[in-house]
Amino acid sequence: VSGLVSVLLPTCNRPHYLLQALESALRQTYAGLEVIICDNSRDEETKRAVEPYLARDSRIRYVQNEANIGYVGTMQRCMKLATGEYISFLMDDDLYRADRLSCMVPILESRPDVTIVTSRRAFIDGHGHAVGMSHSLSDKQAVFDGRAFINLMLTQFVNFVGEPTTALFRKKDLHDGIGLYGGRQYSAIIDMAIWIPLLLKGNCAYLPQLLSSFRQHERQEQKQPEQLAANILEWHSIILQAHRDGCLQQDGQLGTSLLVYLRTCARTVLDLYGLGQAALLKTGEIESILHESIDEAVYGRGIGA
């Protein structure tokens, strides 16, 4: 008997997309699943839209937040309610392919060394039309060493695992909670903060099929200024924490990672001035972190040594 998968669907104010996401979860060919919808909306529209599904499919659980607990809080609440052995997030505007869980679960069942199963993913627009796909990491199914995978992501500054929707993992492997890593709660780069602790514990299995679709909204391209500023703080923190946890240990890896980081930050600083949001940079914290990372990049050991 295969283990129960908890499909976690945090949602906020977009019932139209949510129902598409929900239906893609319910269409899974894999039998053992529960769907947990945690609703952070300001109004009752989402609740009304979901009610008919609740009445006819007992696999769905719906909870409504009493107060706005934000994106991260909603993900955490989903996680607390999950009873399955395996966790699969589904962001409320993304879609699963019907055979996603059937393809992924057997890998976790047969490979105890694997802590993340991910796949290539399609990009879709607001109407669900395909607009592209993620870079291929391998033509056929492959298993990558967890730490090597972290090092690759942190030196190339690319989230090769993907968005939260993309990957499947065991609940027991993430006992610290969602996006909590090294004692810090991440939000702007919450996906990285989920993947890194998992990859420290095991390996990453990759499937070349397009098992999920990630929606790219036009407005999503323009990131929130607050999130841009938070990115600067969180990336620095996660690079150094991963280094303390034994990643980026080869000669020059930490330096390379921090130099790519600095380059990205310089662009972000310019963007924030361009957006008239320089006030977000004036807390002093960002500037001191950039100065620290210059020294860390050149002297290569970071604070942990």
């Binding site: 020059g252 330096g255 310089a266 310019l270 001035y273 320089a278 020294d295 050149v298």
Partner: protein, 304 residues
């Protein structure tokens, strides 16, 4: 009409074979009224032995052997002190002029009194003198461009589009700083950009689209080359800051954009140095200071 005198200046050090090729490229000029000043800083007599016969045969060649080693960039200062021409064109001792260079460039000055610098496209050549390409072109056609506009284009892109000392000609009277100095500060590697900024603050520039010289690129990215690259990186930062304090990239958003470009280039080059296994050369106080200063300046001040 008399041709104005052009001083061709070669500071040289221990490479007689390339130097003679450079000297021959001066003798081949279609323009006649030049003087060639060779300042020899070599540690042995080979260069002197190679040059003497040419100096004896052509009175336009002045050979000066430094009594004691001056080193770089002081040998460049010496050249400029010895020059008597109205116009000056350096020739680095491993580079070459093409035959029409002096004629074309003097003519460009004579057509435009507001011009303080004439440069051109340039070929790159390898150790054997084979042409390996044309350096990135500034314009497709011969163009007159405002000095400030060209200087800011170089600074914002952190790229020396004008070229090496060999590439450009200027008027002696416009160079009111010593060789390789800008705003009173001596540069070791960015001597060319330092000079170009001095000249571009005073007038316009002409870019000649047809190549007029060859710039030799030596193979190898050894530890020593990477150490020089690190010094050049820290010198770029000083040039940017001094240019901003002077007359270029005055507006804060433009200065900030330049610093972003600088940090982009610096981090990319540093990454390549790490990848070549030479990360130790990054332990360089001036480079660290340059990066810290750039971050500080980038994040200070308000736009508008």
């Amino acid at each position: 009409v008399t041709e104005p005198l052009v001083s061709v200046l070669i500071p040289t050090y221990n490479r007689p074979r390339y130097l003679i090729m450079g000297l021959l490229s001066v003798l081949r000029q279609t323009y006649a009224n030049w003087e060639l000043v060779i300042c020899d800083d070599s540690t042995n007599d080979e260069t002197e032995a190679a040059v003497r016969p040419y100096a004896a045969a052509d009175s336009r060649i002045r050979y000066v052997r430094n009594p004691t080693r001056l080193g770089w960039p002081r040998n460049g200062h010496r050249c400029l002190e010895l020059a008597r021409g109205e116009f000056v064109n350096f020739l680095m001792d491993d580079d070459l002029f093409l035959d029409g260079k002096l004629a074309v460039m003097v003519k460009a000055f004579q057509e435009r009194p507001d011009v303080t610098l004439v440069t051109s496209a340039r070929y790159t050549i390898d150790a054997e003198g084979r042409v390996t390409g044309i350096q990135e072109r500034l314009f497709d056609n011969t163009t007159v461009v405002g000095g400030r506009e060209l200087a800011e284009h170089m600074l914002v892109n952190v790229t020396n589009y004008i070229g090496e000392p060999t590439t450009a000609m200027f008027r002696m009277r416009d160079m009111d700083e010593p060789f390789g100095c800008y705003r009173g500060r001596q540069y070791a590697f960015m001597v060319d950009v330092a000079m170009w900024l001095v000249l571009l603050a005073k007038g316009s520039a002409v870019y000649i689209a047809e190549p007029q010289s060859c710039f030799r690129v030596h193979a190898g990215q050894g530890q020593k080359d990477d150490a020089q690259q690190v010094t050049s990186l820290s010198e770029w930062r000083t040039l940017i800051a001094d240019a901003h304090a002077h007359v270029f990239i005055r507006e804060t958003p433009r200065y900030r954009l330049t610093l972003m470009g600088y940090l982009h280039m610096a981090t990319a080059q540093m990454q390549q140095i790490i990848a070549r296994g030479h990360g130790d050369v990054l332990h360089h106080a001036e480079l660290l200071e340059a990066l810290h200063d750039s971050v500080r300046d980038m994040m200070s001040g308000d736009d508008g």
